[in-house]
């Protein structure tokens, strides 16, 4: 069905749902993608405390070696910190070009060390004590405040972070299967809904589906021309990049598989492979976003870090402080930002984990303030009870 016919038939479309390409976020609009690594990834393996002797004592089997000519050693970032070698091709260049920064000792004050609970409390973005409104996530509140952002969760279900009064769609992009309902059938189905309450929703659903069809056709076309085909998270990230460039400016995606209790590996192994895949995907974003990259910020975070010492199975357990990654065309990158301490046993939290010195709401608040030009009241509505802290990311 031609788009024109679709538009002609739909007389009044509630702006609440908008329409792909009919109402898209304007080209100059600031764009935000939040990537959530579910499972509490091992931050100490990503951002390696290379100047800490205690690190090498605590992790005899899983530490990354100090930077050297050895390809398995950490990549040098600063005197104190190195980067996991799996990111050599993907994210290291972005750090060197000043488009990527890291915020260590970052996280939440939630101490449950429980995946679900901490993820939830982070996504809701509300004070930890007192009444919690489970139907209000902070990205939804941000969408409310920013307006016209065409928010989208690239997930199979709407996550807590996007729950709320602003209408947010969700669209899982991991595997784009050909829809079972074909074009003729969708026309007939849509005709049943004309003039009903659900008419706009049904039409928008089919319209997005058509966009995906187009997307897949373009990908197959590229593949048939023997262009290098991406897979895994890189494929997903490229799709996200294209959709963000065209339409959606406030987005969320999550990546799983980070809960490395057993045999996490070091320079190679399970964790290294996951980091490699994630890195490739993130590095593809500036390519897909093109000119929009300069208005885009990508924040990568996780619910907590892991225990500083390795456990009995050459893995690590649930910890506390983590590392946030912030990248984008306008990001003041090539640095380690926020409050830091020396990595010693004395500075560990409860003698087991990284402490949290840069609370995520303060960091994100400071970022949103500059990214979207938010005022104090607006910030307070996104993160009630928190004070924004600008650590110079933008």
């Amino acid at each position: 069905m031609q788009r024109r016919q679709l538009l002609a038939r739909s007389t009044i479309l509630p702006l609440a749902w908008g329409h792909a390409r009919l109402f898209a976020a304007a080209p100059g609009t600031p764009r935000l993608l939040l990537v959530f690594m579910r499972g509490g990834y091992d931050a100490a393996s990503l951002l390696v405390p290379i100047s800490s002797p205690f690190y090498y004592e605590a992790r005899p089997d899983i530490a990354l070696a100090k930077p050297s000519t050895d390809l398995a050693s950490a990549l040098p970032l600063t005197a104190d910190w190195g980067l996991h070698p799996a990111l050599r091709e993907s994210l290291y260049p972005l750090y060197q070009s000043g488009e990527l920064a890291f915020v260590p000792f970052a996280g939440t004050d939630d101490l449950s060390r429980s995946h679900f609970e901490t993820q939830d409390s982070i996504e809701l973005g509300q004070p930890l004590d007192g009444h919690r409104d489970y139907s209000s996530g902070f990205l939804n509140r941000l969408a409310d405040v920013v307006g016209g952002s065409m928010p989208m969760a690239f997930t199979d279900q709407l996550p807590s972070i996007f729950r709320g009064s602003a209408k947010v769609g969700n669209l899982g992009l991991k595997s784009l299967a050909k829809p079972a309902v074909d074009a003729r059938q969708s026309d007939i189905i849509a005709s049943m809904y004309q003039g009903t309450r659900l008419a706009a929703s049904v039409q928008q659903g089919f319209a997005v589906r058509n966009d995906i069809q187009r997307e897949m056709a373009a990908e197959m076309d590229a593949a048939s021309r023997n262009a290098i085909s991406a897979k895994g998270f890189e494929l997903e990230a490229r799709r996200i990049g294209r959709l963000m460039k065209d339409t959606h400016s406030l987005c969320f995606v999550d990546v799983g598989g980070w809960d490395t209790h057993v045999a996490q590996g070091a320079a190679t192994g399970y964790l290294a492979n996951r980091l490699d895949e994630l890195g490739r995907g993130l590095a593809a974003l500036p390519q897909e976003l093109g000119s929009t990259w300069k208005n885009t910020t990508v924040v990568v975070m996780s619910e907590f870090g892991r225990t500083f010492r390795q456990n009995g199975n050459r893995g690590t357990d649930h910890g506390h402080g983590s590392v946030m990654w912030v990248m984008g065309g306008a990001v003041r990158g090539g640095r380690i930002a926020g409050e830091q301490v020396a990595v010693t046993q004395a500075n560990l939290f409860q003698n087991r984990d990284y402490p949290v010195l840069n609370e995520y709401r303060a960091v994100l608040g400071g970022l949103f303030q500059r990214q979207f030009g938010l005022g104090k009241t607006q910030l307070a509505s996104v993160f009630p009870g928190a004070t924004a802290k600008d650590i110079g990311l933008l």
Binding site: W17, S112, S114, F116, Q119, D120, G130, H131, Y134, S135, D156, Q157, L158, S160, K167, G169, N170, L171, P179, A180, V181, Q185, S186, I188, I189, S191, M192, Y193, Q194, G195, T196, L198, S201, V202, Q203, Q204, G205, F206, A207, V208, R209, V262, A263, G312, N313, R314
Partner: protein, 684 residues
């Protein structure tokens, strides 16, 4: 439904009849026949309409008005045979019930025997169909009787009232004044609504009523439940549903349930075995073996969760106690736990069976007590961590906010803290031995299965909860606190509103919620009694076909309609559909449970997914009739949606757009998919 033609008002007088105005019969008859539809002659003979002067010209007594209108409405309804009323347009019966509702709020309490009560009862009795169409427009076209002048604002608004006004003017030769016109207009609507018959044959309507009600009171109408409904009648059916005898499912579904581990092994044994398995796995040193053992433990937990899910779905599909099963879902959602936390997957079956389902139609206080002492809830909301000196407020907060009072009830943070103190020591013991306690504490210790009240972890100080003291004395404090929470009027209202939200509407009428709350309080929190007040309310009847189905209801009702009693062999596909639609059983991460409002389920992406699933269900057996496991059994099955029930009860409720769509189906599979994708299938 026979009505007393001389009902008594609250003062026991036949005042209304005496003063009820009359209209010449022939004028009425002409008005009605000229609209192009006819009422049976006997009905017309006694129709009386308001034409007499109001008792007070300058100020209109609303109660008198109401009484007049109610009188006329009653007489009208008494004399119109039930059938033509059955396909009343929503507007028609909705207006009547809402009007009576709003009037009753202003006037004195309505006696069931009075006109208003009878009128309400009559409308209720006639309501039940889904989507008839009123020929209001047709009526307006025909309304040019006697060339009478415009009779003013009200007449303009209600074109259909024209014939009525002309009757009025024709009889009295005077133009009715404004307040009177208002009441006449309403009656005109009534008359016209009665008179305007949608183009349907009279026969199938009773079946359409039974279908609509069965569709709402069960997980989804099918031939069996509609037949049962028609046989029993509404009252008897309601009673058997609200006070169910313990009944098993027939045949295979029950056999499937009986074979489950959760049906055979008590919770204590199950959890203790799994704990042992977990400890053994954790103790392993060798990496590969450890990983494998830990995976096996997780898989066993998953298997047990799947059993609980399957049992829930089989009961939704086949249990004769449909209201009980729906209330089991409702309370599992109200007292929601997340399957992913810890070893909760092993406890789900017992939690649902012993804490929730047993009390689903019983006393709310019993339900609350069972939940508050079940290890699944105590683990999920961390009360097993809550101990004196290491307070954890999580359960105390949600107990008030989500389970009983509701967030707006006016309790304070202090109340949360005090309730948390009351709940210290209420926890779990997964082991086989009890803790060693000081002698003076031993009498306070309690152990029931995995539940434990450990006085060594309890704060024995005195507390103040919701303004009243609680003397520190152990587990009795907990019972006193729960009693107090349930007894709050806020709890009655909160629970009633949520029930009305689930069964009636996303914005349940305040008056309905109030009545239910009163019933809840008067019956000491009896859930069945409160539901009875709900199911017999006119607001319930009026809301037919307007509640958007959440994914659980959509999937279950579709499978029930497609296969009726033919028992599925595998609920796996249903589990997948629920996952895709975002409402897997026990899958809500946060304790607030899945939202009940349409807006949570009708986004563009969700509608698109629904249509995909409609196609999956409609195109074939979808794997529902192929069992899992090494000795997989497969049975042939086809979703026969164009069945007798469809032709008797569903077809006439479909809009022209839906009918046109069905006509374009190129195959039975496609026909099924279109039907399951239709707007009519999205609501109940």
């Amino acid at each position: 439904m026979p009505l007393d033609p001389h009902p008594r008002d609250v003062n026991g007088e036949k005042s209304a009849t005496r003063n009820a105005p009359r209209l010449k019969q022939d004028v009425c008859q002409r008005a009605v026949t000229e609209t192009g539809h006819g009422l049976p002659g006997s009905a017309l003979r006694v129709v009386r309409c308001g034409t007499a002067r109001p008792h007070r010209r300058d100020s209109v007594d609303p109660d008198h008005h109401f009484t007049h209108m109610a009188a006329m409405a009653t007489q009208l309804l008494a004399l119109v045979p039930p059938q033509p009323l059955a396909p009343l347009l929503h507007h028609g019966n909705l207006h009547v019930t809402m009007l009576l509702q709003s009037c009753s709020e202003r006037s004195a309490r309505v006696e069931p025997g009075s006109y208003s009560g009878q009128a309400r009862a009559a409308v209720r009795g006639h309501v039940g169909s889904t989507q008839g169409r009123c020929g209001l427009r047709k009526v307006a076209q025909h309304s040019r009787l006697n060339g009478l002048p415009e009779t003013g604002q009200h007449a303009k608004k209600h074109n259909a009232a024209m014939p009525f006004f002309s009757c009025v003017s024709g009889c009295t030769g005077r133009v009715p004044n404004r307040p009177f016109r208002w009441s006449i207009a309403v009656l005109a609507l009534l008359l016209v609504a009665c008179a305007a018959k949608p183009p349907q044959p009279p026969g199938p309507q009773p079946k359409a009523d039974a279908f609509a009600l069965a569709n709402r009171l069960s997980w989804g109408a099918n031939t069996s439940v509609v037949a049962q409904f028609s046989k029993q009648g509404l009252q008897a059916h309601l009673q058997s549903q609200l006070h169910p005898s313990v009944r098993k499912l027939a045949g295979e579904p029950q056999a499937q349930i009986d074979a489950m581990t959760i049906s055979k092994v008590p919770l204590v044994d199950l959890v203790q075995q799994l704990e042992q398995q977990r400890k053994d796995a954790d103790a392993m040193v060798q990496d590969d073996a450890k990983k494998a053992a830990q995976q096996a433990y997780q898989q066993e937990l998953n298997r047990l969760q799947r059993e609980a899910t399957a049992r829930h779905l089989l009961r939704a599909l086949y249990s004769p106690n449909q209201v009980q099963e729906q209330m089991t879902w409702f309370w599992m959602n109200h007292f929601s736990v997340h399957q992913g936390k810890g070893n909760l997957r092993a406890m789900l079956g017992d939690y649902e069976e012993t804490a929730i389902r047993t009390h689903a139609l019983g006393r709310f206080r019993d339900l609350l007590g069972a939940v508050a002492s079940h290890p699944a809830m105590l683990r999920y909301l961390d009360n097993d961590q809550n101990a004196t000196g290491r307070i954890n407020e999580n359960y105390a907060r949600e107990l008030m906010e989500l389970h009983t009072l509701g967030v707006d009830a006016g309790y304070t943070q202090r109340d949360v803290q005090e309730l948390a103190r009351v709940l210290t020591g209420v926890g779990i013991n997964l082991g086989t031995s009890n803790p060693a306690l000081k002698k003076e504490l031993q009498p306070y210790y309690l152990r029931r299965g995995l539940f434990e009240f450990n006085p060594a972890r309890h704060d024995f100080g005195d507390k103040v909860l919701l303004g009243k003291p609680i003397k520190g004395r152990g587990m009795d404090e907990v019972n006193e606190a729960l009693d107090r929470l349930v007894a709050q009027p806020a709890s009655a209202r909160f629970i009633s509103r949520k029930l009305a939200h689930y069964w009636v509407s996303d914005e349940p009428p305040t008056a309905l919620v109030e009545r239910m709350a009163q019933r809840f309080e008067a019956s000491h929190g009896d859930i069945a009694a409160t539901l009875e007040a709900l199911f017999t309310a006119p607001e319930f009847a009026a809301a037919s076909g307007r509640k958007f189905k959440d994914p659980m209801r959509y999937v279950v009702s579709a499978v029930r309609l497609a296969y009726d009693d033919k028992a599925v062999l595998n609920v796996g596909p249903m589990i997948n559909w629920l996952n895709r639609m975002g409402e897997p059983l026990y899958g809500r991460v946060t304790p607030d449970g899945y939202p009940l409002a349409a807006s949570a389920w009708n986004s563009p992406g969700q509608m698109a997914t629904r249509f995909e699933i409609a196609k999956a269900i409609g195109s074939g057996s979808a794997g529902l009739f192929k069992s899992d496991g090494p000795q997989s059994v497969e049975r042939s099955a086809f979703p026969q949606l164009s069945n007798a029930l469809y032709y008797q009860s569903i077809a006439q409720t479909l809009s022209p757009a839906t009918v046109r769509a069905l006509d374009q189906a190129a195959s039975p599979q496609e026909w099924n998919s279109f039907l399951l994708s239709s707007p009519e299938m999205m609501y109940r």
